[in-house]
Symmetry: C2
Subunit: 753 residues, 2 copies
């Protein structure tokens, strides 16, 4: 059993290794050669230019200014310096509200920790139950936890009272944060410059009409039913095949560049390649000629397909982006039901053009419900039975199995040290691989479910991942046995029995979860800031593919906040904090370190690195709130289970009131704020319409919206923003872009150095 | 243990007594003196006139035409004869769709019964498990049930297969009925003549404004945000005190009439009364003078209050009925969110004027959520702990208790036969009283929850009552012990254990529930058609209060379909039928008799008796559907529990799929049809607006809507329908009213005789 000292030692170790990571980061980021890895956001914004042109040859790649190394932690205060409004401007609302989750963690847990250490730790420490049991070895950690209170003691009143205080404090912070998020979103939507999605509604399930094409049918329907507001519409082409061709051509072009570069560096031998799969099989041909020919062929095919899609009426899916003359008209259409059959003419506010997930726009209603049913069943099996295939794989993945498949490795494997290494790693590998690909699996499942925007796909995947973490990791760690065992337990034990079992094992698992926080939480954050994978990929690309400055821009992989996996992980730490607050407060400081460290790191990343794929206006907050409520409920129920085993029956009615209050609080908050995230109030639309009519009476909206919702493959692969936006951005009220040459040094300061 | 013969005997007995009821009904309804009790609907429609004027003195009261007695069951085919469209016209959509629930019962259970008797009864009968157990007495009922199948038998496949067939058949009927109800509702709404609620939106939680009164604020807000559609609005007065005064005056007027009548019949002595509570205490005064003076005083007070309400700005509540120029405008406003704060300016489609529950229009958002929380807690305690106060009352209500409180009754009570009678009745009385007042309690709770229309109050109360019947009556009858005991069981047993316990006791309780169906179901329907209470009340009123023909009209109490209590009861029989279909099919014929008998009786009642209080357009159907789904789920889970105790593990996975499918089916149906009951499609509104613009271009809508939503007390107690409606009704496209004198005989035929 780990003692307090053990914990402190390993905490110090982890903190030191985290510091080493930070040091590595500080050194790497100062090298000009890595500049595009650690500051891609500024390049994409056009504020930072390549430093490689203006300096001496060596200092192109390595920073020789040793003074900058001394201030290696300077990026932290720099990351915190940018004020929130500027940050929203710079990185978008999604990112800013996302890092507020970490801030909320601090707001919730710092006071709770202080209170818990001031009240509960002394109460537990002097409980004396553990000392009375003879021959029991126990550590100071246990002495600090609720385990040290003898059954039937009046001291449990302190825990119940504190659990009320914690709950109400969490309510208070959650209410405030929900309110802030809602008002930030509303303000953001109101101050946002004109964008096509404000005027546009996505219409799905356009019913087939024997006499009219989809586009005529849409036009007639909206002309009749929204006569004063309908402007025009854009049909959706089924361009999935075309998109595949474009992607394939892109990859071939990369190979061509690679071989051309190779040839330029070594003109003596022309590079060759094989025509088969991944260049591994087939006849050997001249690489440059081969790829040029292939690209030519694909270009032709692409042109043909492009023509077919545009001219073939069957390539038009029964969905359309319908635009209105005013934001009011669009808000009305998005919120109302069009016909008496609720499965056709489905309207919803259009996502941003870059947020649209084009493949899913044409799924009929019945198919959609069946897909969701199947995915729900699959998710259930994934959560409760995921250990079965992994165990099967593990049973094959033994030393003998490897020797059978790859007999030539036998002499190497049989070496003593290698053998023990493989034996140590193998069993875990299948599980690790599963955990790494899990988010991808969940995302594919969400795509099958038929959501139409990237943001909703992210939110949906996050829900699934949260459920997985909750059941498989949290419950799985507390109860013994695998997830399948939990299912059996849940079915075969009475609810009170389950709560008691879990409640009792919570304090015993404190050390495990403290280690988990350090290994998984702290280490993940340190890895996040170091960006090892993008660093390596960038340099590989730089060596093999980059020819022009533009290529180098494309070689950058800024990444973005991966909401679908990060948010459920944060929720996991919230859950741990809430569960342990009343039972073993020692865990809380570790949570606080996690939140504080994460906050600084992610603030730095969204300022300097991430480039968001879409802007949903913090539409995810209701999900965050709901999952926090789930965490609160679990913590309350587990405390109830624990206390009811301790001969303190008079306290259980008090504790039952907490979950009831929590559910009510959830309903109250949702009623109060949720609609800000799902609806579009008419008053706000009217205000903006009126303003616009005054400030820009000559606006040609039809022209502005004409091509806003064209499939990206028709734009030559890149999303161009409409002309008018660019004009406006060139002359904004508040300067958000700076002159690249002039302000390069200044922006560097903002980014920290 | 009851044998099959016992059941048949008691079924025959109950059928005979039901026939006796019907005979009594047939005789009573033919007496002209009871005409207003059994045919009030026709009087209210103005089609039937008092028969007392046109006949000889005796035949005024008693029907001497003996020929009519012979055809005493003729009302049944007569009740079935009126075609559905005419019935909708005559009784409204609510009533017609309500009786379709009974019809659906027949559609679901007749084929299920035939199949069950063709397949399951032979399979069970030859199972032979009971005969193998020595010394076991068992009846034919048990031999027909699943109890007769030995554990581990392959015969359970038949039950599982049948349970699939039953489920899918029920799905099919439910889907069809949901579809029919939705299309009936849409057709009804589309063909409905012009009514104020089509143009009106109820706006609640108007925020206070320091500079403007409520009416100005409402006008400005809607002028700005719905500039093209806003027409006018009607503020809501807090006239609750005034309504009380009006009601009090009405009651005093009744007393005055009573005493005047008394004096007229016996002019020798002027009637006197006492001034105190209910005329039991206080000084004795001349009754006619006293009541005349009191009424005069109240009239004055009423006038003063009426003036105060109209002139005092504080008497205006922050709610309003806002009317629009078109149905399209109203539909848009009702479905959209007005401002970024979702707790103010709440809009919903206005209920019919007569459907408005005026007292609840002014409850602020926070108070509303707190009220709902409290009522949820109260409902929980009501369901699980209702036996506690009843047991306390029962312990007081002993013979000794009565003797202590009312000692003068002692000699009477101590008489042997009286004593045993009291001892037999007393314990049950408290429970009976509770069950009688329960619907009222639930209705009061729903009112506290703050719903704004009578129809939603009814729906809400029905949900509560359904929950009560499910937990207290159904679960309470299956498990031993009181409801509180069930709660303990639910908490302390594992879910599988609970399912097994319930599943196993289901077949054992078949006889009990068969008796229950006969006592509660059959008898209640027979009592429903006899209308004993209204019969007695009418004759009492007729003797003491009636002077003019108009008084006699008011003395009629036609009643209406009591959705809040009847619908949950129907659901209870559905539940029984579904649960027993696979386990003990013998119960099914009793259910079928119930549904068939109810269908005929209620069809007769809505044709001849009931006068609906409101018309919600069958808005209750989604609730009916949801509760049927709950019944299906329970039946599937109980069968799963039973089968899993019978060594047939290979069947349980098959049975687990059923609840999953059921939940999916529920979601599918709701997605497909629910919005027809809660939303108002723009296309339909547009079609009607366009039609109206053509057919009635000169309509003065403002005038039409002016006083539509005035509190009823401002109309002299009676709801007058707007002028235009009456004009239209006087000259309808299809004749729905007939000339009273001419068609009296004819309508009597329709009503059956």
């Amino acid at each position: 059993m780990a003692t307090l000292q053990d914990i402190v030692y390993s905490a110090v170790t982890y903190l030191l290794s985290a510091t080493a990571f930070l040091l590595a980061f500080a050194i790497l980021r100062l090298q000009p050669i890595n500049d595009r890895v650690y500051f891609p956001k500024w390049y994409l914004k056009g504020i930072r230019a390549s430093p490689t042109h203006s300096r001496a040859t060596i200092s192109k790649f390595i920073n020789m200014d040793f003074k900058t190394y001394i201030r290696f932690l300077n990026w932290m205060p720099a990351a915190l310096r940018m004020p929130e409004p500027e940050l929203i401007d710079h990185a978008g609302l999604d990112s800013v509200v996302y890092i507020r989750i970490y801030l909320m963690g601090l707001k919730v847990f710092v006071p709770i920790t202080l209170l818990a250490f001031a009240v509960l730790v002394p109460v537990n420490w002097t409980g004396g139950a553990l000392e009375q049991i003879k021959d029991l070895t126990f550590s100071d950690i246990d002495k600090m936890s609720i385990s040290n209170i003898p059954p039937g003691s009046k001291r449990f009143w302190a825990h119940v009272a504190m659990s009320y205080v914690f709950t109400f404090w969490t309510f208070y912070i959650m209410y405030k944060e929900y309110k802030t998020a809602a008002s930030m979103r509303l303000q953001f939507l109101a101050s946002e410059s004109r964008s096509p999605d404000q005027f546009t509604v996505l219409v799905r399930n356009v019913p087939p009409d024997p006499d009219e094409s989809v586009t005529e049918h849409v036009e007639h329907f909206f002309c009749v039913n929204h006569p004063d507001h309908y402007l025009n519409h854009q049909v959706v082409y089924n361009a999935n095949k075309l998109a595949k061709l474009v992607a394939k051509k892109k990859s071939l072009e990369n190979w061509l560049t690679y071989h051309t570069n190779k040839y330029e560096r070594n003109p003596s031998s022309r590079p060759t390649t094989k025509t088969g799969f991944w260049g591994l099989w087939g006849t050997r041909v001249d690489a440059i000629d081969y790829y040029t020919a292939e690209i030519g062929r694909l270009s032709e095919e692409e042109d043909k397909e492009r023509e077919r899609v545009i001219s073939d009426p069957n390539a038009i899916v029964p969905a359309a982006f319908v635009s209105f003359k005013s934001r009011w008209g669009a808000a009305v259409c998005a919120q109302t039901q069009q016909t008496s059959n609720p499965t056709i003419w489905l309207t919803e506010r259009a996502p941003e053009p870059r947020d649209v997930y084009w493949d899913n726009l044409a799924i009929p209603y019945v198919e959609l419900t069946i897909r969701r049913l199947i995915m729900a069943v699959v998710l259930f099996f994934l959560i409760f039975f995921f250990m079965i295939p992994i165990t099967i794989v593990q049973s094959f993945a033994s030393i003998e199995g490897i020797e059978k498949v790859l007999p030539f490795l036998k002499p190497l494997i049989e070496t003593g040290s290698v053998k023990s290494l493989i034996q140590g790693i193998l069993p875990g590998i299948a599980l690790k691989i599963f955990l790494i690909v899990l988010p991808t699996i969940l995302m594919i499942m969400s795509k099958i479910e038929g959501f139409t925007s990237l943001s909703s796909l992210d939110r949906r995947s996050a829900s699934k991942y949260h459920l997985f973490l909750l059941v498989s990791v949290f419950i799985g760690s507390i109860a013994t046995g695998v997830a399948l065992g939990q299912l059996k337990t849940l079915l075969n034990q009475s609810p009170t029995e389950i709560l008691k079992t879990f409640g009792v094992s919570i304090p015993l698992k404190a050390t495990f979860f403290i280690t988990y926080i350090m290994v998984d939480g702290w280490a993940a954050i340190a890895a996040e800031i170091l960006r090892l994978v993008p660093l390596i990929v960038f340099h590989l690309k730089n060596i093999f593919l980059v020819k022009t400055e533009q290529d180098r821009d494309q070689a950058m992989d800024p990444g973005c906040v991966d909401f679908a996996t990060s948010e459920p992980r944060i929720q996991f730490y919230f859950l741990l904090g809430l569960v342990y607050a009343a039972e073993a407060p020692l865990l809380l400081p570790f949570i606080i370190v996690f939140f504080a460290f994460s906050y600084v790191v992610f603030r730095h990343q969204i300022i300097n690195v991430y480039n968001q794929k879409y802007e949903s206006g913090a539409a995810f907050w209701p999900d965050v709130h709901r999952r926090l409520i789930i965490g609160l409920l679990i913590s309350q129920l587990f405390l109830l289970g624990l206390i009811s085993t301790k001969d303190a029956e008079e306290l259980t009615p008090l504790l039952i009131a907490l979950p009831v209050l929590t559910i009510w609080f959830h309903k109250f908050c949702n009623g109060r704020f949720e609609s800000a995230f799902v609806k579009f109030p008419l008053q706000d639309a009217m205000v903006r319409d009126t303003l616009e009519r005054v400030t820009d009476p000559k606006l040609n909206l039809k022209l502005y919206l004409q091509d806003a919702y064209l499939h990206p493959v028709f734009r030559g692969g890149e999303l161009e923003r409409p002309q008018i936006i660019n004009e406006e951005e060139g002359n904004p009220l508040v300067a958000t872009r700076r002159n690249p040459e002039k302000s390069s040094k200044h922006s560097y300061d903002v980014a920290g150095s």
